[in-house]
């Protein structure tokens, strides 16, 4: 075993008075650990599709993969122009020409569902990503801030959460005017407080662990402590929350569209398609039924996937 008696010369001094000035960019690059985040994601992906995954989980992930693929390719796969009216073929029952029938102005229901998938699923994912990002940032700030600021932020979250999120989103979306962007903004505004509260709780717990304390005595700033040590160790719970949120978001977005604050017509949105078909649901059931099925299927698939992510992240909740 070799022991060097002296530390080698030439290494930069760590003494505060003698250290060289370094750029902010350099400090930032050493403060974050993209590796740690990447490893977290990679490990999750391996577990998602690994050999030991339960059948039900694999089905869920398979469904989600198919849905996301459809969301990306939907407009290309659609057999007809989703917005072109064809009064000669109005309200046709499902059959060989129009697989899922046509609506009251003769637009192909299948084409509209496929086009709508892009809108609904992609924006649901976007909403959850943004809400989680805002939630995590707010929670980190609250956990770093002095006690009173933390209290203020959390009471603001409480205020948001005291209004049912659907009502809040409905009001905001109506105020912003009917467009996809306004729906996304409204939903993010309605969802972030829950994420922030949850994340703050998790971060607080992580911050009390011994390794955070030992990292602190190394002399790092609290910001670095948060970004490099506390957040990577809380990611598991954040992934789980985000994946569970997606299914609820899909249902809520469709609900908003159904109530008429979604993307303006003639854009194909699952929720507004149901609303459009409800006038003649007794005679032409297919106009409402198929978009409804699409919503249900997506919500169930993402819900199952969320469950699966949770069971993977937290072994104690695994079904035996």
């Amino acid at each position: 075993m070799k022991t060097e008696d002296k530390l080698p010369p030439g290494l930069p001094s760590t003494h505060p008075d003698r250290r060289g000035e370094v750029s902010f960019a350099y400090r930032f690059s050493t403060a974050t650990s993209p590796l740690a985040v990447g490893r977290g994601l990679g490990g999750l992906a391996r577990r998602l599709f690994g050999a030991k995954t339960f059948l039900i989980n694999r089905i869920a992930f398979g469904l989600v993969a198919v849905l996301l693929l459809l969301a990306l390719l939907g407009p290309v796969l659609a057999p007809y122009d989703p917005n072109a009216p064809n009064t000669n073929a109005a309200l046709q029952a499902p059959g060989a020409v129009h697989w899922l029938g046509t609506d009251d102005v003769g637009r192909d229901v299948l084409s509209r569902i496929l086009t709508g998938a892009t809108q609904t699923l992609i924006s649901a994912v976007l909403i959850v990503v943004f809400a989680t990002l805002i939630g995590v940032i707010v929670a980190s700030a609250a956990a770093l801030a002095p006690r009173w600021a933390d209290e203020v932020v959390m009471r603001v979250c409480d205020m948001f959460m005291s209004i049912p999120s659907l009502v809040l989103a409905l009001g905001l979306a109506a105020a912003l005017g009917p467009s996809l962007t306004s729906i996304i903004i409204a939903m993010v505004a309605a969802l972030w407080p829950a994420t922030a509260r949850l994340t703050r709780g998790i971060l607080r717990e992580t911050m009390t662990s011994a390794y955070i304390e030992s990292a602190q005595i190394v002399g790092m700033s609290r910001l670095r402590l948060m970004v490099r040590h506390a957040i990577p160790n809380s990611l598991d719970a954040i992934y789980v929350h985000a994946s569970m949120e997606i299914s609820g978001t899909i249902v809520m977005m469709s609900g908003l569209a159904f109530l008429g604050v979604g993307a303006p017509p003639p854009s194909a949105d699952w929720g507004s398609m149901i609303a459009q078909g409800q006038d003649f649901i007794t005679t032409a059931w297919w106009v409402s039924l198929f978009p409804g099925l699409a919503i249900t299927l997506s919500a169930v698939a993402f819900g199952l996937a969320g469950d699966a992510v949770r069971s993977l992240a937290d072994p104690s909740s695994r079904r035996s």
Partner: protein
């Protein structure tokens, strides 16, 4: 600087929890450490002993000002500057680079998602040392602490290490920035006896080689005997006795110290006699007031 003048001079240090932050209520501020004074010279090994709750750890944590909710009074003078009330920036500069700390449980003291290298090099990275140099130095310090294949181990995760190895890694992280004082808060309590001895030997070895002052906190008098040069006995937040190590064991002054030493059970004692406790000693001295 004169080698005999103390690098750390603590005088009349008190730690208390303000009334409104006391858990479970209670009246008045809760005083955890009550006016303690001591000095550490460079290269000196001082042990702080006492039972659980006597304020040993709080004293150490107060030096680093780790707790946000306690009120500190008195003076902590490090290398000529006062630390109590110093700017957070100045404190950050001192933590890790001049005063470092080892914690009780090496199993939880390492971040599970970062590699050993990232964690050992961190005190250097925080201070703007380049990654390459920081990792080089991390490997060297691990090597110094007898971690085999230090270079390859930098990429390993804490989960791949045993308890004794982890305590070495924690120690490497504490020593990598070449501090002048190491505060060791019961660093061997969570380890088995054999590993304990290795860790104690390492601390002593590093202290000798690097002229590193050590404040060693423990409740185990046996570890004190081999390691420290002088000992402070703490009870109810106060120092009851301060002596050099040989004198403490041969002629303890305070009844509490005598009680502590005598309550270590002896193998050759008469099994039919009740073992003496600290309270017996205190009672024999008319219940001298301590706290």
């Amino acid at each position: 600087m004169d080698a005999r003048s103390p690098i750390l001079n603590v005088s009349a240090l008190s730690v208390s929890v303000p009334e409104k932050l006391r858990i479970g209520g209670g009246q008045g501020d809760l005083r955890l450490v009550d006016g303690v004074s001591f000095q550490i010279r460079s290269g000196e090994r001082l042990a702080l002993v006492g039972e659980s709750g006597s304020g040993k750890s709080m004293t150490a944590r107060a030096l680093m000002q780790l707790d946000r909710d306690v009120v500190l009074k008195g003076s902590v003078c490090w290398d000529g500057t006062e630390l109590l009330g110093a700017a957070p920036r100045r404190l950050r500069e001192i933590r890790g680079a001049e005063i470092s700390m080892l914690f009780q449980d090496p199993m939880t003291a390492l971040n599970p998602v970062l590699t050993i290298g990232e964690q050992v090099a961190e005190p250097l990275l925080v201070r703007g040392v380049s990654k390459k140099n920081a990792y080089r130095k991390a490997a060297q310090i691990l090597d110094r602490l007898h971690v085999p294949k230090a270079k390859e181990r930098l990429r390993a995760y804490p989960g791949q290490f045993s308890g004794g190895m982890r305590q070495r890694v924690v120690m490497a992280a504490a020593l990598v920035a070449e501090p002048k004082l190491l505060i060791a808060d019961e660093p061997t309590t969570a380890l088995d006896v054999r590993v304990q001895e290795q860790v104690l030997d390492l601390i002593e070895e590093q202290s000798r080689e690097l002229n590193l002052a050590v404040l060693f906190i423990t409740h185990d008098l046996a570890t004190v005997a081999g390691l420290a040069q002088s000992v402070v006995v703490m009870h109810h937040g106060k120092f009851v006795e301060q002596q050099n190590v040989d004198d403490l064991f041969s002629k303890p002054q305070h009844p509490y110290t005598r009680g502590l030493l005598a309550s270590v059970p002896r193998l050759d004692a008469d099994p039919n006699r009740r073992l003496l406790t600290v309270e017996d000693y205190m009672a024999n001295h008319g219940g001298e007031s301590l706290g």
